[in-house]
């Protein structure tokens, strides 16, 4: 019933052609998706560091900090996206709603990571550093934090990879990112399935997740040169 030209074939394998036909639009979506996946994690880490440190330094704060941040994590992302604008008095279409919501998730995830990462620093190492004359703040940045890097990096990997998926959810409520490829494909799937934008969106999301994951792994290696000296 539908006569399709070659360039508009609905075969799933035509996602590459679809990309070439719409490259400027798709690259724009990819760029905003990347930005939305990375920035909240960076900001989230900056907020989680002092919180995680507090939870570790003052043990009685650990249970409340961890359970409150854990509570934030149970709010479904779609609900958080739509709750942010009215709660903060933003415009309903304010592009900041997604990064703000994702920052909340990143903090929720990373606080425990930071606290547990700091906990993984052997007690004798901390004591040795103290004995060498490190003051608490100096000791934190020069000894404890570097040693906790592998654990924090493991948490960061989870955070960036899951952010890529959560950002796509925001596409279903009309925000501009790769998730829009899914809604577009869904909308055009009548009377027959139209796969290219859907498949393209999945491919780009996976590629983005893999690249970001590798970036964190690389950063981890860069920051922990001593781990390469010792065969594990």
């Amino acid at each position: 019933m539908t006569v399709l030209a070659d360039s508009t074939s609905s075969s799933p394998l035509h996602f590459a052609q679809y990309f070439l036909d719409h490259s400027s639009e798709d690259l724009r979506l990819l760029w905003s998706h990347t930005w939305l996946s990375v920035v909240p994690v960076v900001i989230g880490l900056l907020i989680a560091l002092p919180l995680g440190w507090t939870a570790r330094r003052y043990r009685w704060t650990y249970p409340p900090i961890i359970s409150i941040t854990g509570l934030l994590y149970t709010i479904p992302s779609i609900a958080l996206f739509v709750m942010v604008p009215p709660l903060l008095g933003l415009d309903t279409l304010d592009p900041l709603q997604v990064p703000i919501a994702l920052t909340v998730y990143s903090v929720a995830l990373l606080v425990r990571v930071v606290a547990d990462g700091l906990a993984s620093v052997p007690e004798d190492t901390v004591q040795a550093a103290t004995a060498l004359g490190f003051r608490p703040v100096e000791r934190f940045f020069k000894v404890e934090l570097p040693i906790a890097v592998p654990v924090i990096a493991a948490g960061l990997r989870v955070a960036v990879v899951s952010n890529v998926s959560i950002v796509a959810v925001a596409g279903t409520i009309g925000l501009s990112n790769l998730g829009q490829l899914f809604t577009q494909g869904f909308q055009l799937s009548t009377p027959d399935a139209y796969y290219p934008p859907i498949v393209l969106g999945i491919v780009l999301c996976v590629l983005l997740a893999v690249v970001l994951d590798l970036a964190v792994v690389g950063l981890n290696r860069l920051l922990t040169p001593w781990r390469r000296a010792v065969p594990s």
């Binding site: 415009d91 279409l93 409520i173 009309g174 577009q184 869904f186 909308q187 055009l188 009377p191």
Partner: protein, 319 residues
């Protein structure tokens, strides 16, 4: 039949209420809905109606159907805004009647039947640009009026079909339409104007927004687009607050959205009422002749089985 009803309704709004073919197969299992209302079993009471969530709360939605025709459906199922979910639900028999737009190529493709709306529950739905007053310079007005003058209902259906059926890009379709209608020549009429054009989340509205955007761009305006935003309930606040400046609207639905008690149904009356109902910072430019109405549609089989021609027929007793 579809086209006849469409033509007869051209003066007023056409409400396409579609009834699907499969509804007849499953009408036996519709026990959930019927008989709960004291009035006995009407045809509608055996039906599940599919439409966007906002159809439940809109003035011309379920309330309007009840008020104007005494039609009360057995159940309501949330689908989407006249999109693939609604169409497939009707086609596959998950719903028996649905809210679909009259320009939707799926109506013809699936042989859906549009139920006539003699009482104009759905007011006239002329495509009309709603714009922030301060951005409506003479150049912008001339450009958009030029578009409205050339837009027809048939042309609109054609645009939707290009995007929906042929899977062409909305912006390419928009550019093609502009050049076809001699509206694509470059100029400086809108030079220096900065506008953000928005659209709702269905293909036709996106194409219309692209047409506005491309034409204004060609006239030197600096344009940003925010397309596929969502339902009117979602984008209208942004339009009102000024974070969007220009939106392709449908005169009747935006009027009922602004004024639930609005009674105007003829195109000119609706347009006049709309201008009055808009907040002071917004204005409606010239309306086009092109209409895209909400409609109630059913499948051919359902229409035949129950002898449905108008929405009012749904209120008849079921045998």
């Amino acid at each position: 039949m579809t086209s006849r009803i469409l033509a007869s309704g051209a003066a007023a709004a056409v409400l396409a209420l579609g009834v699907t073919a499969c509804g007849s197969d499953s009408s036996d299992d519709t026990t959930t809905g019927g008989s709960s209302s004291a009035g006995g079993a009407t045809i509608a009471s055996k039906f599940i109606f599919g439409g966007a969530a906002e159809f439940k709360t809109r003035g011309d939605g379920l309330d309007g159907l009840k008020r104007n025709y005494g039609v009360e459906f057995g159940k309501f199922r949330v689908t989407d805004t006249g999109g693939p979910v609604t169409v497939n639900a009707l086609k596959n028999g998950q719903v028996d009647a649905a809210n679909v737009f009259s320009t939707d190529p799926a109506i013809k493709a699936n042989g859906f039947v549009i139920l006539a709306d003699p009482k104009s529950n759905f007011a006239a739905q002329n495509v009309v640009p709603i714009i922030t007053k301060s951005k409506a310079s003479d150049g912008v007005k001339t450009t958009l009026d030029g578009i409205s003058a050339k837009l027809t209902t048939a042309g609109l259906s054609d645009l939707v079909s290009k995007v929906q059926v042929d899977k062409e890009d909305p912006d390419a379709v928009a550019k093609g339409w502009l050049s076809q209608n001699g509206l694509s020549s470059a100029g400086t009429a809108a030079k220096g104007v900065k506008l953000t054009v928005g659209s709702a989340n269905f293909p036709e509205n996106v194409v219309l927004a692209e047409i506005y955007a491309e034409a204004l761009k060609a006239q030197g305006a600096s344009i940003k687009t925010k397309l596929n935003i969502g339902s009117r309930e979602k984008y209208y606040p942004a339009l009102k607050s000024g974070s969007l400046d220009l939106f392709p609207e449908y005169s009747g639905t935006i009027l009922t959205y602004l004024d639930k008690k609005a009674t105007a149904s003829k195109p000119d009356d609706v347009y006049t009422a709309l201008q009055a109902a808009l907040p002071s910072n917004l204005t409606a430019l010239n309306k086009s002749d092109a209409q895209d109405s909400d409609t109630v549609v059913v499948t051919k089989a359902t229409a035949d089985k129950f002898g449905l021609k108008t929405i009012a027929d749904l209120a008849k007793p079921a045998e």
